[in-house]
């Protein structure tokens, strides 16, 4: 075999291998998607049926049983709302830490991240009681506030690690050009950071969308996002896999499709600048 043929073979094997892993890992999602178009009987048939006449019945039943649209709207409001809030609070903090670092900046950052290590369950009881006392149980307001605080450390950290990599000379050039601090932020830093801000926002949205501790413990129906709606399908009332799959597909599809489009930025953002 020539060296060239060897290389081609290597590429082929690498590709084969990568595709195999990817397909195995993707299989459960694929299977969920397929099952959602089956009848309940086909869904539990052994051997599993791959070829069948697809039906949309499950989807209409899901909407009827648990009002998908209502929960989806809750998910959208809580995840987008808290993300926007977190960004508004985090951008100034990250900006000042990156461009005017003090001696304790690093400590403050580590402390922020350590609040994220604090298990939610440690404060479950008081948060539950505060929400109960202020009538915030099963309310979107409570979820938005909690999600905001929950993701704030990660949002600050991600923005910080991006801001600090912005070349300082560009800001100095702007200063020489007569820019005020406000001009610097609005005309130089923000336009340059749109990528970072949007990937941070994406991550925050994904984390909120899939958050399933507070959404399961603090909501019942009115404010219940999709995670809570799906959890209601776990009760052992028989094998309704097709409907379950339809509901799951509906719950995940928006964020998965959203994620597909932004996966590159997302991975880069999530690594806190560990990967360039």
């Amino acid at each position: 075999m020539t060296l060239n043929q060897q290389r081609k073979l290597k590429t082929f094997i690498t590709g084969l291998f990568a595709w195999t892993i990817a397909l195995i890992l993707f299989f459960p999602i694929f299977w969920m998607f397929i099952t959602s178009f089956k009848t309940e009987l086909q869904a539990i048939s052994i051997p599993p049926s791959l070829f069948f006449e697809p039906t949309l019945d499950n989807y209409s039943e899901v909407q009827e049983r648990s009002d998908y649209v209502h929960h989806a709207i809750n998910s959208i409001i809580t995840s987008f709302g808290s993300t926007i809030l977190a960004l508004i609070i985090a951008v100034p903090a990250a900006f000042s830490m990156a461009f005017a670092p003090g001696k304790r900046t690093k400590d403050v950052l580590l402390w922020m991240l350590s609040t994220k290590m604090l298990p939610a369950v440690g404060v479950l009881v008081p948060i539950y009681m505060i929400c109960r006392d202020y009538g915030l149980l099963d309310s979107k307001t409570a979820l938005v506030i909690i999600f905001t605080l929950m993701n704030l450390p990660i949002v600050v950290w991600m923005l910080f690690s991006y801001f600090k990599d912005l070349p300082k000379e560009i800001l100095e050039a702007a200063r020489m050009d007569g820019a005020t601090p406000w001009d610097e932020v609005v005309k130089v830093v923000l336009p340059l950071s749109m990528g970072a801000i949007s990937s941070t926002a994406l991550l925050s949205i994904v984390l909120c969308w899939n958050e399933s501790f507070w959404s399961l413990t603090l909501t019942a129906s009115d404010a219940a996002p999709l995670t809570a709606m799906i959890a209601s399908y776990s009760s052992p009332e028989g094998l309704f896999w097709a409907k379950l799959s339809a509901a799951s597909t509906l719950a995940c599809a928006p964020i998965v499709v959203f994620g597909w489009f932004c996966q590159k930025q997302l991975v880069q953002g999530l690594t806190f600048g560990a990967v360039k």
């Binding site: 070349p167 000379e169 560009i170 100095e172 050039a173 200063r175 020489m176 050009d177 007569g178």
Partner: protein, 364 residues
């Protein structure tokens, strides 16, 4: 009359004294180059003039106005950065006009200025491009254009050519020289490359360890350095330095005994007391290879042929290597024994404190 006056400028960092009392005056229209090894404070000095670093003592005056405490943007200076620092999210046209837009200049005037600057820097065809679509040389020109468009009182350049490849660097160097001739604006230029300093400057400021070592025209620094530091820093290849610790004092001359050879040096060219030991400094072009006789002998270690000339690295009897400039087509073999003639008129002597103790003949 002095245009930019710097008086006893100090810059302390937490545990580092970066500028130790800088005094300098620059006249209008001058091209001044700050040069020195890395860490000498040249960039700090430039950035302090720009207002990007605050000084911890001393004053800076520009055109009769004290600007020491003024914000960068109010100093009427423009700076070209080493990394160009173009705004990546703006087109070339927007980069050029950013300062004007901030200053609320009218659209018509902005257009006119951008047009004339881009024409003079051959950027016309690139106005709608983003910086990342430009080559290194083009980015450099945009950075310069961004400075010109504002018509500042002084241009500051922070190692602007160091990111370019060798050929482009020479070309941009010429363009900068032309630009200075055309605009006639005061320019301050920082570099670590002494060739850039020599070719561009009206006056060169040599900095060392936060202090000014010497200020002068390029030729002055080359011919009349004050110290060994300046003598070694200016000139490629470097000046040869040969220690002479056996000196015989005669009536009107000193005789240096250099391992069996002697060099006779007129005593009247020594400033101050006659030394008992010295370091003899002589540039490669003031040494020549001769058939016989000569003042020194040595063996050829290596020859660098540059085409128009050659540099012979010669090992002396004390194992020290010196460099001699030789004619290009001279047949020289490694290991060959050669005789070297020294042009005594060009010798510069240094004392133990590395200060120059000799003067050149026409002044003697």
């Amino acid at each position: 009359m002095s245009y930019l006056t710097i008086t006893d400028l100090q810059k302390h960092y937490d545990n580092y004294h970066a500028l130790r009392g800088i005094n300098l005056s620059i006249t209008e229209g001058e091209f001044v180059v700050f040069v020195g090894p890395s860490g000498c404070g040249k960039s700090t000095l430039l950035r302090t003039i720009a207002g990007l670093e605050s000084s911890t003592g001393g004053t800076i005056e520009l055109d009769g106005r004290d600007i020491t405490e003024l914000a960068s943007s109010k100093r009427d200076l423009a700076m070209v950065f080493q990394s160009y620092a173009l705004y990546p999210h703006m087109t070339v046209a927007d980069n050029l006009s950013f300062a004007l837009r901030l200053a609320k200049v009218s659209d018509a005037e902005i257009q006119e200025k951008v047009r004339s600057v881009s024409a003079s820097l051959q950027l016309d065809a690139l106005l709608e491009r983003k910086p990342k679509e430009l080559s290194g040389g083009q980015r450099q020109r945009v950075a310069i254009g961004r400075a010109i468009v504002r018509q500042p009182k002084v241009f500051l350049f922070d190692e602007p050519l160091s990111n370019l490849d060798a050929a482009l660097r020479v070309q941009m160097r010429l363009e900068l020289a032309r630009l200075h001739k055309k605009l006639g604006t005061t320019m301050i230029y920082v570099t670590h490359d002494q060739v850039e300093a020599m070719t561009l400057a009206d006056r060169v400021v040599i900095l060392n360890a936060g202090q000014i070592e010497q200020v002068g025209t390029p030729l002055e620094l080359y011919r009349k350095p004050n110290s060994r530091f300046v003598a070694e820093f200016i000139g490629t290849p470097k000046m040869n330095l040969i220690p002479a610790d056996k000196i015989t004092h005669k009536a009107d001359e000193l005789v240096f005994d250099l391992f069996g050879h002697t060099i006779h040096f007129p005593a009247k060219r020594i400033k101050g007391t006659q030394p008992d030991s010295t370091i003899v400094g002589i540039r490669p072009e003031h040494l020549s290879l001769v058939e016989e006789g000569g003042d020194l002998t040595g063996r050829i270690e290596l020859v660098e042929h540059l085409g128009s000339e050659a540099y012979a690295h010669i090992q002396l009897l004390n194992d020290q290597t010196i460099i001699v400039k030789a004619a290009a087509r001279l047949e020289l073999k490694d290991g060959q024994e050669v005789h070297i003639k020294v042009d005594v008129d060009e010798i510069i002597l240094f004392d133990d404190n590395n200060k120059v103790i000799s003067v050149i003949p026409e002044e003697a």
